[in-house]
Amino acid sequence: MKNYIQLVSKYLRKQKKRTALTAVGIMLSVSIITSIGILSDGANLQQIENVKKSFGSYHVLFENLDPEEAEVVKNHVRAGKTSIITISDIHGIPGSGRKMAICSIDDYTSSLLDIKLIEGCWPERENEIVLDITVLKDLGIEDELDKKIYLDLGKRKFEFKLVGLYEKSTLFSQMDSSYGIVIPETLKSIGSSDKFMSNVYMETVRDFPIMDSVNKIISDSFGEYKPPRFIKKVAGVSFMDKYISLNLFLLNVLGEGYDNVSNEYKIIQAILVLIVFIATVSGIYNAFNISVLERVRQFGLLRAVGTTPGQIRRIVLGEALLMSMTAIPAGILFGIGISKGFTSFMSELYSISGIFTLSLETLLLSALVSLGAVFFSAYAPSRLASRISPMEAIQDKGTVLAKSKKRKKRKFSFIEKLMGISEIMAYRNLRRNRKRFTITIVSMCIGIVMFMAFSYYIRVYEKLMFDDYIESDYSISVHRWSSDGSIGYPEEILDEIYGIEGVSNIYGLIKTNQSFLLPEDKMTDELKKRSRTAINNPGIYGTNLYLYSLDSHLMECVAGNVKEDLFQKENYKNGFPVMVYEPADEKKWKVGDEITIEKVKTISSAYGSSGNHTMSESTILTTNEMVKLKVAAVLNDAPFTSYKNRPLFFTGMETFKEIYPDAKYNSIYIDVTENADKEYIEPKLTRIAQSVENGQMISHEKKLQELNEMKNQIMLIMYALAACISTIAILNIINTISAHLIIRTREFGIVRAVGMTGKQLKKMVWSEGVLQAMISSLWGCSIGTAVIFAFYWLLKNDGHPIPWELPWKTIFVIFFINIAIGLLATISPLKRISKLNITESVRCESF
């Protein structure tokens, strides 16, 4: 041996079992960190992909630009992948009520907007056209490619060659016009370019923050309008006839947005990660602490022959390093295995794919975090080892590290009087080394808290995702919303539905997205970020919020005591009465407040609440008339939706019809009698639903089934993740308890020497496991309850859908599982202890 540090490898080699136990402890903890990293990476990527699919992959959209302006924007140095869509005038399709325009796209359009070609190819030559598959019928064209077609575009007919058909992407479906897609040259040939407008969809360059690039492009391209730092405060801005909006949905998932709504969830996720980190550190700390406690005598002897405390510390930390060199890679591999196995299990079972992704960054980060955790955890045990006095070890009294206060007197306590000697010893053993006991309890508690937090998180997630807010048997609805309620089902349809045999009740609803002009005092910071402001009036914010117009039955649902009476016509003079719901604790609204909405005259297609305004709506914004609303009631809760983080407005159907006399129902909920013949009713309702374009009938029973299937998939992912973490936590607990028993081998030998039978020994060890489980369950459940109460409190401000209640079921399950684990953990060490003969046990070094 050349150097004392070689003691490290010699010890590790000699004590293979102990080394393996500690290394397994480290490996398990590392695998938690790694699998969390990989799984959340995967989930994040999946989310980004989903958002890109639904909202496109562009970062910013410039609308209504002149083709020349569009080129300037496209050629900006900060512009990355950019697509210009230039659109001709919109024309009605004769005899169908639908509208159509011709637009030119470029190479990047399909990737930035996620338009899918179903048949054929994209246009490459002049006069080639690709059409939306749904518009063929309206145009009277047969579904045949490479045929000549004639389109009536305003003044004259144009001839095209149909080369492909596309499926409306989610993004395109927000626009109520249908588009014929051509190359730019074709577009030029069908009209004069000064009537065209261009929309520019852009991804900014990667090397700079997205917001920074967007602002730079705006100020460089539209400097004369001087948009003052607007983009930092609001989601979009309109100036002159132009409109610039961010793809906030994407920016938020990319972490470049400012979606404060998800902050609470981020906090919860951060807390979960922190809990896992603490579990890891405590797991590794446990393993090292035990390995030091087992070798008190060895360290004492080393001290006796002149090893300095610093050298002892280095020996222990050296062991940590050496073990990390194998345990961390093994843990990472194990973590990858867990995540991979889990992902492929999920995809096999539910054909959910694409969640598993490996990035070098995540693996390196996991390795670094783990290495940090190992050293952080090994430091305290190394200090402990360096403090061992040579005398204590040489004397070998067996109570060498009993640093607990010397309690001189000990009498049977009340509890102990109820127990037998095996239980008393178990109880005392637990309490004799407070530190060791605390560590075990803490690591068990962490497992419990993790389980409780996860269960709660799952419950909240479930509630948020799958809140079915109107309970009825069927609904018919139009999936395009208009701000003036002009798209939907007319009043007569109600009678028609009533006429169907078996229908018992009908409720009507008009959900519209109104452009509210709100003064600054009604704006929360959150709301400001979703709003636009006009350059010439920065004190007024234009924001899209929902206005629900309800029939009298639904009106009663909103607030038991608020009736249509509140909405008497005489009020209209001073403003149309509405009820406002505002998220808890904001207190910005009171009865009597006046607000303005922009009344629209044409069909619009505002969809969502921010960022994604289509060309047609921006046209509407310039042709408006103001309508004054007056707050008649402030609501504490809002039905019909789970998204309660923004103000929502409710009004009676009559009021809404005062504003928009032609308003139609866009959702009708239908109840049927118990004996109703569903096979008779469903086709009838479907026909009625489809009498309006984009209308559909939903059977809530079937929808519930579909939702349940989806819910089960997502729940399975969540539970599997929870199970993954719990398994590792359980293994850690088992490791800890068994190690604690193993280091007391000698003590067990002594009690056997003085006549304890195998049965009594088992009873004692089992009692220890059960007691430990019960105490940790008690602590864990108390802390866990506090943690989920904190979650509840955080979420309360976000329109939290679950009322507070004690998680009795979870607590019961935890006690049960924990006791089972406590007993399970004693099996292997008990076997080992019973196998050793008494003489060997008594000779054992540790005590």
Partner: protein
């Protein structure tokens, strides 16, 4: 009458080339109320002999008859019961249970037996061993001598027929050692017990009734010191 009989008792540790024969066919009889001292150099098999005689370890060959019973024919539970009722052990390093008070350590064999404590006897025993005012102390609050006295009291608590002591004074200073041994001697006299002591101390050995010398796993001499 013999309380203990060892017949052709052998013990081999390890196997094959590394096998070490610790005891080589020992035959020995110990009478009731006898005080036997076993001496011998390190590695001569003293402790092995004591452990086998007390049923703590299994022999490779041979028998141990204790109070007329072949102890290795008993199952594990019966052997444990025999240990707590008929045998008292005293170890060099006291081996007290750190979580139990002195009194609880003493009562341990009785408590394990679910028997009612003979309070009078225990009081007398602790008084006799000078532990009366130390009963509620935990082991780590006692001196070495006191801990060894607690270990002696534990060995005597169940009024065993025979006491095995493995260098009971080895960890104590001379005076304390003498004191402990006097107590042991007095105790067996008072409670009519048999005592088998392993010791390195020839002065102690000379006070025994019989002195057995072991060497290389065999009995070298077996002499009656006094009658």
């Amino acid at each position: 009458m013999n309380i203990l009989e060892l017949k052709n008792l052998s013990k081999t540790y390890g196997k094959g080339e590394t096998a070490v024969q610790a005891l080589k066919g020992i035959d020995l009889q110990v009478s009731q109320r006898e005080f036997v001292a076993i001496v011998g150099p390190s590695g001569s098999g003293k402790s092995t002999l004591l452990h086998l005689a007390g049923g703590l370890d299994n022999p490779t060959d041979g028998k141990v008859i204790l109070d007329g019973e072949d102890i290795f024919l008993l199952n594990e539970a019966a052997l444990a019961v025999l240990r707590r009722r008929k045998i008292g052990f005293i170890f060099q390093f006291y081996n007290l249970i750190p979580v139990l008070s002195a009194e609880e350590n003493i009562l341990l064999p009785i408590l394990l037996d679910n028997k009612k404590t003979d309070r009078e006897y225990i009081d007398e025993l602790t008084e006799f061993l000078g532990l009366k005012d130390r009963l509620n102390h935990l082991p780590n609050a006692l001196s070495g001598g006191q801990q060894q006295r607690v270990a002696i009291a534990r060995a005597l608590a169940n009024k065993p027929s025979i006491i095995f002591a493995d260098e009971p004074t080895g960890n104590l200073d001379t005076e304390m050692g003498r004191e402990v041994l006097d107590l042991l001697r007095l105790s067996i006299k008072r409670y009519h017990q048999t005592l088998v002591v392993i010791t390195h101390d020839l002065n102690i050995a000379k006070t025994a009734d019989r002195l057995i010398t072991l060497r290389d796993g065999s009995i070298e001499s077996n002499e009656v010191v006094r009658k």
